[in-house]
Symmetry: C2
Subunit: 407 residues, 2 copies
Amino acid sequence: MPVTLRNIGLLATCRGEGPQAALHAIPAAALVWSGPLIAWAGAERDLPDAYRAVPSEDAGGALVVPGLVDCHTHLAFGGWRAGEFAERVLGRTYAEIAQAGGGIASTMRETRAASEDALLERARGFLDAMVRLGVTTVECKSGYGLNVEQELKLLRVYRRLAGESPVTIVPTLLGAHVVPPEYRDDRERYVSLLIEELIPAAARDGLAQACDVFVEGGAFTLDEARRILLAGKAAGLAPRLHADQLSDGGGAALAAEVGARSADHLEHVSADGIVALAESDVVAVSLPLASLYLRQAAMPARRLLDAGVAVAVATDFNPGSAPSYHLPLAMTLACILQGMTPAESLKGATLVAARALGLEATHGSLEAGRRADFAVIDAPDVEHWLYHFRPNACVRTVIGGTTAWAA
Amino acid sequence: MPVTLRNIGLLATCRGEGPQAALHAIPAAALVWSGPLIAWAGAERDLPDAYRAVPSEDAGGALVVPGLVDCHTHLAFGGWRAGEFAERVLGRTYAEIAQAGGGIASTMRETRAASEDALLERARGFLDAMVRLGVTTVECKSGYGLNVEQELKLLRVYRRLAGESPVTIVPTLLGAHVVPPEYRDDRERYVSLLIEELIPAAARDGLAQACDVFVEGGAFTLDEARRILLAGKAAGLAPRLHADQLSDGGGAALAAEVGARSADHLEHVSADGIVALAESDVVAVSLPLASLYLRQAAMPARRLLDAGVAVAVATDFNPGSAPSYHLPLAMTLACILQGMTPAESLKGATLVAARALGLEATHGSLEAGRRADFAVIDAPDVEHWLYHFRPNACVRTVIGGTTAWAA
């Protein structure tokens, strides 16, 4: 039986045509869904008679947007790193902290020590909080296990989460996050382990959909990344990259070369890198919370958009550089720090983010036939929502046609 | 009858002795209050027998902090300015927008057009949301009326709010926000109006406790500010300044000269200005949300603290440069953007903020005899709270011994 949501003040459909700033927003709108899918979306005055007779709900004049898609998170991890935050405030750098055994290696130790059940319980708590913010799809990376057994443990956490939650979970293998300490003197052995054991195991069991590599001075070289990403691709895992975050390392060009779904971070992307991305189908994923927390230059999103690159917005939620899962805050920061308009930021956290996950045919926009994933926002329009930052402006989250949360 | 809160994981008392980083935090603590005042605070094992027998509540191991003090807000205003946000994102400056009739003048028009009742209802909604974040004291500025009748209207809104809310409201006259358009060609007449009519009226009716001036190119000169602040002081209104926000205008030195309670903003304070503040009792009020939203350099809070200046943290909540009342976000930003430690940031939003309001003898710290205003925070310690930014980590707000909000 279909359900009609009437009296929508503004329906930001986020359909794909046109530039990223085109939200194809409809004032005084209605939205009809049937089971998990949208049956109709449009101006309420055009509502077909058939849908006027079905049970209806009142949106109270609110803004309705597609369910938010957080396309870059490190959702499952052990421990926290609040002490490093206090150190960075006083001037210690992320690199210095990593060299002293902190950073990713610190979370790796706590993640390895945690049970699968304990990691699942924590990740579930984060996910529930994200749903209350209007998030309905979450990409989840491994990357704190850093050996075959521990990386697969993290991916199993995500599989169990996907089984119990209405949220669409997209698991990504990030075995190539950093070279773990036990392979420090033989990084080639670790790269081989990834290519010969971990990637095949993750792909064989369907535990991951994508394969990600952190390309950076302290992590993996361009050549290593190319080998890992191509091995992943051959095994059916879509390539993604952490690229040009702390320095320009040529990651953007590599993303284009290997046909990656996304190049993420890009705080230091070069002019050539922007050209390479513009000539490809790679989505640039902006992570302004990480830029803020690390006091880095932000990704030049305005330049990327003006060059024709699609720019997604995500949280990068992790216990070090971006210890917040607040995607609407990231969207506001994308406007302030990166020159994205509120409309571009919203499309970046919905349809464009879905594209970075290979889900653009089903997720991220409100059109007949797409998933009935949407958020009801207490704001008259997108500009007001992202400008007037509040703890939570979302009043209701619907996933697959079912209310997952309501204020 | 006293009430005892037991099983406090960490009680950050924020007592005044020592540097701003000294929170005098007590692990495994208890807190006793009787009516609106604290009767006892200390380690739970030291709880006097008399307080073991009274009704007790369990804090579940949470962090307990003094009720937050937002010592700089423009709480009551008409309209919003989301459109300006979208323009600034694309590169238009705050000054350009103001020259085109936007900015403060735009909010002035909408505030003048709004009824006292309508302004009260909106301000009440913001205040309720602030209480849920753990805020228990709020300074409220006029400044969008900009004539005698309209400024007094705003101050009456705050008086009514103080009468109905448990929150401690501190009203400030900011008639000298900008020169209103009708006096543009005769600013001296507006300054005279402030000195001869508005200040006496606000002081006579007890509608304001402080008098604030925006010292800046497009607002008031140093000489005008001095005359206004001294007239206010003579009438019993404590001086405060918006100083050195968009440029170094000598505001810090003027604050010291007139014995101001606070100099606020200070993004561009000079080295001489820092020395002047350090030799005075003026509190520097940091407003990192405004710095963020305007993409300005942040106040050099680290240098001010190291020079011996007390630095408060506040939201600057207003519809233009800081459209968020999220004080914990401002506290996190004070760490990230200004080099304050989490401990300094908390003391800056409690005891030091209370000092900027002349309330340090009663508000802002948890000690016997002080007000029983406190917030229960879901975090193991202050570092974790301000590092792991969440929509709202506050689970309970107590004002004057009574629970004003609980999750």
